[in-house]
């Protein structure tokens, strides 16, 4: 016999092969549930916890924390969009639903910002790769809302203002902490895990200063 083959025997007992006793047993289970729920319903004593139904418009289910919902564009501290139009998200998007047109950012420290940022929520496959690819925590899918129904297809395309309307300030540092974060981590005093293992990173020495509060 080949490796990994598990033989599952057919139901062999006579009562299962005859069908009728097995069917009667199954009907017994459903009948018991029916009678219980029917009489509790009639007398109005059916507990909410016994009902699997969620009566949607009135009560909504709490989505889990990592639920991927509608996109939102995060904001800087001054309310500007965090996105630097690096084109990571439209590149990685498997559904090609993100459109970015870049323009020069006025303040000079940041090179680019999106002039147009549109997401076609009707094409989006809600894979979350855009949020994964974003280097500056500018796009997120943690709004907890699913795509809204629309009467026209064009209403399913969300523009920059609408995406930003759900945005909040991000706790991440814009631009990251710089290219030398490994050295910074390594330079911090830390206890080696065991005797002879050398600490990660290059040996401690002078590292270039990084302005963490760079805007």
């Amino acid at each position: 016999m080949a490796v990994g083959v598990k033989v599952v025997n057919r139901p062999g007992s006579l009562s299962q092969q005859l069908f009728v006793p097995a069917i009667a047993e199954g009907l017994g289970v459903t009948f018991r549930h029916f009678m219980k729920n029917f009489f509790l319903n009639v007398t109005g004593q059916r507990k909410k916890s016994d009902i699997a139904t969620i009566e949607y418009p009135e009560e909504k289910k709490q989505y889990p924390e990592r639920f991927r919902g509608l996109h939102r564009l995060m904001l800087r501290e001054d309310g500007q969009v965090r996105c630097v139009a690096c084109m990571m998200c439209p590149t990685v998007c498997p559904a090609h639903c993100i459109t970015i047109v870049a323009e020069e950012a006025p303040d000079g420290k940041i090179e680019k910002r999106p002039k147009i940022f549109e997401i076609d929520e009707l094409r989006c496959v809600v894979c979350g790769l855009c949020a994964e690819a974003c280097p500056c925590d500018a796009i997120r899918m943690d709004s907890g809302e699913h795509a809204h129904p629309t009467y026209r297809r064009v209403d399913g395309i969300l523009d920059k203002e609408e995406l930003m309307s759900r945005g909040t300030a991000s706790a991440a540092v814009q631009g990251g902490v710089g290219a030398f974060w490994r050295e910074k981590v390594a330079s911090k005093p830390q206890t080696p895990p065991s005797g002879d293992v050398a600490p990660l990173g290059p040996p401690p020495g002078p590292t270039p200063a990084i302005d963490l509060n760079r805007k």
Binding site: F34, F38, A52, T53
Partner: protein, 382 residues
């Protein structure tokens, strides 16, 4: 004019027949089948710890959402009546009607209550006594009775097959083919299952069969328990419902009505529930005593039915028997709904194996054993 309404006149027979047809179709079959569309969803919800459709209401009247069937009908009427471009228009239009009509037609032979004693309405009831002018509560008293049932109910296979063929859709075609093969296979078992009851009662006329089942101990189920199970299985297969819903096969081919929308789909939908009602009625007539509830209950009602105001006691007694008969039908329909929501479906080859290799030999054996027993009893008595 008074002569026209006198008992035995052709005009009287015509008025009587029309009144019974109107009652049966508009007063019983259609309302019950419509409500069953709601009841199926609500009952399945109760079985699965859900709520089910409970929202539809007429103003403040909610009544557990029972008006959902009206909302459904309204929706069906206002939906687009779509006909696929390459469909065979004529057959596409007629297939839903051909699927539904047989279920209405077979109701003609079902006895649904005690006969009215015309002419002596205030003196006697149609139970135990021979009326001088009985008006049987059965639309057509046919001597071929059950053969008529098989002849007409097997026509409903045309509805499914033609719907599948006329849609010009591969899935619909598959569904139609599956429907025809399944219904042909199970009709054989169905006929043979009834043959046992036919041998016991010695007649094919449902009215005569019912009148032989006055006491509970003479119900068909006592003589033909196996025949009943076979007939029930075949009848569920004929209605094309789970566990025999291969022609619909929702997860794979959606079925012969995949191209239908609006009220045409509604007709298929309603036809399925009409078939449930009529097959329940046939089963009750054959195996559960028709409108009889045993000599005690029927006898008590017959002895104590009074004349109330303008309603003579014969009429009141007949109405009471119709109500009691309806209770049986509703319970039977609920049982069929419960079977649908308890069992998983068969695969197509399992279905054929069950039909041809298991049910058919068992039903033949049932007929042979029944015939031998009857022969034995008859020779014992002589």
């Amino acid at each position: 004019m008074s002569e026209f309404f006198s008992y035995g006149h052709p005009g009287f027979a015509a008025v009587e027949a029309i009144a019974k047809i109107l009652f049966m179709v508009l007063g019983f079959l259609m309302p019950l089948a419509s409500i069953l569309t709601w009841m199926e969803r609500r009952e399945s919800a109760m079985m699965q710890d859900r709520l089910g459709p409970n929202r539809a209401n007429i103003g403040p009247i909610k009544a557990w959402g029972i008006t959902h069937f009206l909302a459904d009908a309204l929706k069906f009427i206002f939906k687009e009546d779509y006909v696929p471009g390459k469909a065979h228009k004529f057959l596409f239009m007629w297939a839903p009607i051909m699927a539904m009509a047989p279920a209405l037609i077979v109701a003609a032979i079902i006895p649904f209550g005690a006969p009215l004693c015309w002419g002596e309405m205030r003196e006697t009831v149609g139970y135990g006594t021979a009326c001088a002018q009985p008006v049987g509560l059965q639309i057509a008293q046919l001597n071929v009775g059950l053969l008529f049932y098989f002849a007409i109910s097997s026509l409903s296979v045309y509805g499914a097959t033609l719907a599948g063929w006329a849609s010009h859709n591969k899935w619909a075609m598959m569904g139609g083919l599956r429907a025809s093969s399944q219904m042909m296979s199970y009709e054989v078992t169905m006929g043979l299952a009834v043959l046992g009851a036919f041998l016991v009662f010695g007649t094919l006329e449902p009215g005569a069969i019912v009148s032989q089942q006055e006491s509970i101990t003479s119900w068909g189920i006592i003589y033909q328990p196996l025949g009943f199970i076979l007939f029930l299985t075949a009848a569920i297969a004929e209605t094309k419902r789970t566990p025999f819903d291969i022609p619909e096969g929702e997860p794979e081919i959606i079925g012969y009505f995949v191209e239908y929308s609006g009220m045409r789909f509604g007709l298929f939908f309603l036809g399925e529930f009409l078939e449930i009602v009529t097959s329940s009625a046939i089963m009750i007539s054959l195996f559960f005593g028709g409108w009889h509830w045993g000599t005690h209950i029927d006898g008590f009602l017959a002895a104590h039915t009074p004349n109330i105001w303008i309603f003579p006691k014969s009429l009141i007694f007949s109405v009471l028997t119709i109500v009691l008969w309806s209770i049986k039908i509703v319970v039977f329909c609920m049982f069929q709904l419960m079977i649908r929501w308890s069992l998983p479906r068969f695969r197509s080859d399992q279905l054929m194996r069950l039909g041809w290799q298991r049910l058919l030999p068992i039903s033949i054996a049932n007929v042979v054993v029944t015939a031998l027993l009857i022969l034995l009893v008859q020779s014992w008595n002589h």
